[in-house]
């Protein structure tokens, strides 16, 4: 076990040395991987910021329950009881018809209109604040409430929510497809880099296998090199995206200030970025693994 760990450490150091020994070739490889990764990473970051912006602009989704004109307070209490146990309900508030009318009267021009009607045309209502992110649950809740007696209309302000969710889902899917395509590209780049490395070390591989090296032993330095290259590519991608955000944020600040907002584009949380770097490293590892495996298939152990 100690020998295994030691060999891993030696391979890691050797991979770093190899990158340093061939700075131009290494830099070009890392740059190619970095640019390839920067595209899906940038799209992912923009999508995250769009989600954040949508949340800030629209607040939480709301549901309005309008009772029938003849409904009593007991009918309203029944609706409140149903809301109390419903999932996704953050809070709800009973708005009596008198309060609604008073509020309407405060709006410019409405006082005269209400006066011409003679009586209060507004029903008692309940305003329900919902947790964001689950339009299907909101639809189900609206359907349940419509079944209750003396409930005249249930209005779910969900269309925009559904459209936004759909747009963001589409965006996420597009980012996923882009990431998958460029991930495959990155594996191919690493595969080819390691293949060239294998060709330069063919004699060493052959001798090592002849005198007792296992396939895992031969593969190890190459997968470390792939993982290190992938990680470096991930760091370059992160640098490119961070630089782009920095460049864009001046204009974004000026634009958001006109909407009385302090919104700025931001990178995802550190844990997500660490996962991304891990993913880039894993792709590099996979490319190298496939490359060495392909070499083993072409040149079986003597």
């Amino acid at each position: 076990m100690r020998a295994w760990l030691r060999h891993h450490a030696q391979c890691l150091v050797a991979a770093l040395r190899r990158l340093v020994r061939t700075p131009v070739a290494s830099a070009l490889n890392v740059l190619a991987i970095g640019v390839a990764l920067a595209l899906p990473l940038g799209a992912w970051v923009l999508l995250g910021n769009a989600q954040r912006l949508a949340g800030e602009a629209h607040g939480d989704p709301q549901l309005s329950v309008f009772l029938a004109p003849e409904a009593t307070r007991a009918d309203a209490s029944r609706v409140e009881a149903a809301l109390a146990g419903a999932p996704g309900v953050r809070r709800h508030r009973f708005v009596p018809k008198e309060e609604a009318a008073a509020e309407l009267q405060r709006a410019e021009g409405m006082r005269e209109i209400l006066a011409t009607l003679g009586s209060n045309p507004l029903p008692d209502a309940l305003v329900v604040d919902l947790a964001p992110g689950d339009p299907d649950a909101a639809q189900r809740l609206a359907a349940e409430l419509r079944k209750l007696p003396k409930v005249a209309v249930v209005q779910l302000d969900a269309l925009w929510l559904q459209r936004l969710e759909a747009a963001l889902r589409l965006g996420a899917m597009a980012v996923g497809v882009l990431a998958a395509l460029l991930g495959v590209g990155m594996v191919a780049v690493t595969f080819n880099t390691i293949r060239q490395q294998i060709l330069t070390q063919q004699a060493e591989i052959e001798v090592s296998r002849l005198i007792g090296a296992t396939d895992a032993f031969v593969r190890r330095p190459f997968v470390h090199q792939g993982a290190v290259t992938g990680l470096a590519g991930g760091l370059v991608a992160l640098g490119i995206v961070a630089g782009a955000l920095y460049a864009l944020n001046g204009e974004v600040s000026r634009l958001s200030a006109t909407y009385a907002s302090d919104f700025r584009l931001a990178l995802p949380p550190a844990a997500d970025l660490a996962a991304l770097l891990g993913f880039a490293s894993a792709l590099g590892w996979a490319g190298a693994y496939l490359s060495v495996s392909s070499h083993f298939q072409r040149t079986p152990r003597e």
Partner: protein, 227 residues
């Protein structure tokens, strides 16, 4: 205890060429044996069957009682770690210096670096290359290169040393030096099997010789013949 035992071994290559035919011989642990015969007689094939570089078409090759033909591919590296192999084409790494070449088997065996360095230098000392440890193999003479191969083969302390034509490209003085090194390892208990077509060398050395002719063992079967 037999170090190597061939029992009715036949090796036929995919192109139909039969390199070994019903070959049987045995080598006792601690013995020094020559495998002799003309060029193309089957010596190299026989040597390559021992570390499973080739697999026998039929018959059994036993190394320290272990049937090499029955080994799974994953077990072959561990078999080879117990053998010291000297190849006809040397297979030195020319982008590594002398000591780095000798360190390779120890790295494969997972030897700690400090101990590996000590053992590599000791092996170089035994073959008289201690003062050339930083030299590149290309700068060594033919005899020195062969001695480097020996150092690499013995550094992991194998119990069986197999050499394919180790003196083929050496002058008589260098060849004698190499053979003396083999003898010194044999004297401390290492079984040595040397393939050579040089009948004079075999005669001069005086050890048992297993003779192959067109893939058949024609003399020197060893313990197997006695049994």
């Amino acid at each position: 205890m037999l170090a190597v035992q061939f029992t009715r071994v036949t090796k036929r290559y995919p192109d139909g060429f039969q390199a070994l035919r019903d070959a049987s011989f045995a080598i006792e642990a601690g013995e020094f044996v020559f495998l002799t015969g003309h060029s193309g007689a089957g010596k190299t094939t026989a040597l390559r069957l021992i570390p499973a570089i080739e697999r026998a078409t039929s018959g059994a090759v036993l190394v320290h009682g272990q049937n090499v033909g029955a080994l799974r591919d994953a077990a072959i590296p561990y078999l080879r770690r117990g053998l010291g192999l000297l190849f006809q084409d040397q297979k030195l790494l020319h982008d590594r210096n002398v000591v780095e070449n000798v360190l390779l088997p120890l790295a494969i065996c997972g030897e700690p670096p400090r101990e590996a360095a000590r053992r590599a230098r000791a092996a170089l000392d035994k073959v008289g290359l201690r003062d050339r440890e930083r030299a590149m193999p290309i700068t060594l003479s033919g005899g020195e290169q062969q001695r480097l191969c020996i150092a690499r083969a013995v550094v992991a302390r194998p119990s069986l040393l197999i050499a394919d034509e180790p003196t083929a490209n050496l002058d008589s003085e260098a060849a004698a030096g190499v053979m003396e090194i083999f003898r010194s390892f044999n004297q401390v208990g290492v079984t040595v099997l040397v393939a050579t077509h040089d009948a004079a060398l075999v005669e001069r050395f005086g050890s048992r010789a297993v003779r192959i002719d067109h893939g058949r063992i024609v003399a020197g079967h060893g313990a197997l013949a006695a049994a």
